[in-house]
Symmetry: C2
Subunit: 297 residues, 2 copies
């Protein structure tokens, strides 16, 4: 079968063997926002035509392609949900060259009852959790809007989104903090760790933020370290809040791109958790797993 | 005597009676950044010439006029400090029409030993604390960069700055949160209180921020309420962190402009403190008090 994670800005496809192994894969910038005039079927033919020509007949998709802005809107499935519930709620997509189905996103509430939604992460989580023990209680998908899922017996029971990545960009780009920072993308681990350590202290994030400037002005923070320190501060605060109701010593899967999961793993380990880094191909495993439940191989 | 609070963007002067009463006052946009080519003496003559012509001979100033970008740099005085220490550390300013002195700013450290400085707030605090009981343990000066002072027996023992106002502007103006907010400056009290209540919950500020969007998308937050809710969330988090080591039921002076102290008072009361609002003329009282210690009336 073919598995596809079709997001807002990226298209990623996997040609999967019967045992879930990735036989081939491709990735392009044809996210759903780059598809003109709703021409999703044409786009799909162009992206995976050779695999279909080679005999693949089953295509399972997840991600924003199932949103209102996507190809066919797949209603959110309520939590708790795992691979079984997701497989039972697949949505058919009309397509002439193959059988195409969509994994629905999930709707949940945070600990205060505020509505939350995800599309695509549920499939990555399904893939990641299948390879871990059933005692996992929380999992993290870092990003511009990081998601922390609460998990029980391999099913997602709820989740919470943290605006960490976007807050970093706004604070760095549009406050006084950016003035003492040098450009550059590489994170300085020691400075990141200092930010994480500071986040563990009392005082609150809004005070800690000002401290980035105070320490820079006092010569306690090198200009090249400022952005890494700010990143550690924000990720440290996110992880501290998210781990508050997770038992110390728990395994916490962190699913995503390697650069970002490396940073989150540092913060999770500093906070007493055991980080288990899982790369973005968790989506391929999740698609294979869910497809397998309806007999697709 | 004449008391002047000369800040970055505002010039505020008070003609004071011997008992500290304000006989006259004036305010202009001639902050230190609006003084060209270091012409502070000329600016002062233009601003308060009539009072000097009427016989005033003593001028006491506080604020950024004593910074490196100001008229004469007054070295920071270390905490702990109160009116007595401030009066003993006044800095002379050369001026031909009157005797002019500067109140130095304060240098302190936050609870983690990070360097903090203030200029002008120490004088407002001196004025405010003189009118309150000696049992006050903490005081708040809200603003773009809010300051919370730790106080013992009327002296400032340390302080911490929170980047609340600037973070609000960056998050509203440069993240997805602003998209669901209407323009307008008036705060909606019920929406502000909802933000404060949310800040008291677990989950962390970065998650609560995303909730502003989640609640708006779910129809749980009216477009006209978004900015007030965000304001309550940020001020609520600041106040929660600042009150963490202040005994419940304590009187907390809040010094500043009425619109802002009204909001902080709501958050402080919600957090179990007793807010005592004091307007910006605390600076006049502080200048009178400090001047009185060197015999100026």
């Amino acid at each position: 079968m073919i598995g596809i994670d079709w997001g807002t800005s990226r298209f990623r496809a996997f040609r999967l063997a019967a045992d879930g192994a990735i036989r081939d894969h491709k990735s392009s910038a044809r996210g759903i926002l780059a598809v003109p005039d709703g021409r999703f079927a044409d786009s799909l033919r162009e992206e995976i035509g050779p695999w279909l020509a080679a005999g693949e007949r089953h295509v399972l998709m997840c991600g924003m392609v199932g949103s209102r802005q996507g190809w066919v809107e797949a209603p959110y499935l309520p939590c708790p949900a795992g691979p079984e519930e997701l497989a039972a709620a697949l949505v058919d997509v009309p397509f002439d060259w193959a059988e195409v189905k969509l994994v629905p996103g999930l709707a949940g509430v945070d600990a205060d009852g505020v509505a939350e939604v995800m599309r695509g992460e549920e499939t990555q989580l399904a893939g990641a959790l299948a390879r871990l023990g059933s005692e996992v209680a929380a999992a993290c998908l870092p990003g511009t809007h990081s998601k922390w899922a609460r998990v029980a017996a391999g099913r997602i029971t709820g989740f919470a989104t943290h605006m960490t990545g976007e807050a970093f960009a706004a604070l760095r780009g549009h406050t006084i903090l950016g003035r003492t920072m040098q450009d550059g993308t590489a994170t300085v681990p020691a400075a990141f760790d200092r930010g994480v350590a500071r986040a563990a202290r009392p005082g609150g994030l809004l005070h800690h933020l000002f401290g980035v400037r105070a320490e820079a002005l006092a010569g306690q923070l090198a200009p090249g370290d400022g952005a890494s320190y700010l990143s550690g501060l924000l990720i440290g605060h996110e992880v501290k809040a998210a781990l508050a109701d997770v038992a110390a010593g728990s395994v916490v899967p962190v699913i995503g791109a390697p650069e970002l999961t490396a940073l989150y793993a540092r913060a999770i380990e500093a906070g007493g958790g055991i980080a288990e880094r899982i790369n973005g191909e968790a989506a391929a495993r999740g698609l294979s797993l869910i497809g397998g439940r309806i007999g697709w191989r």
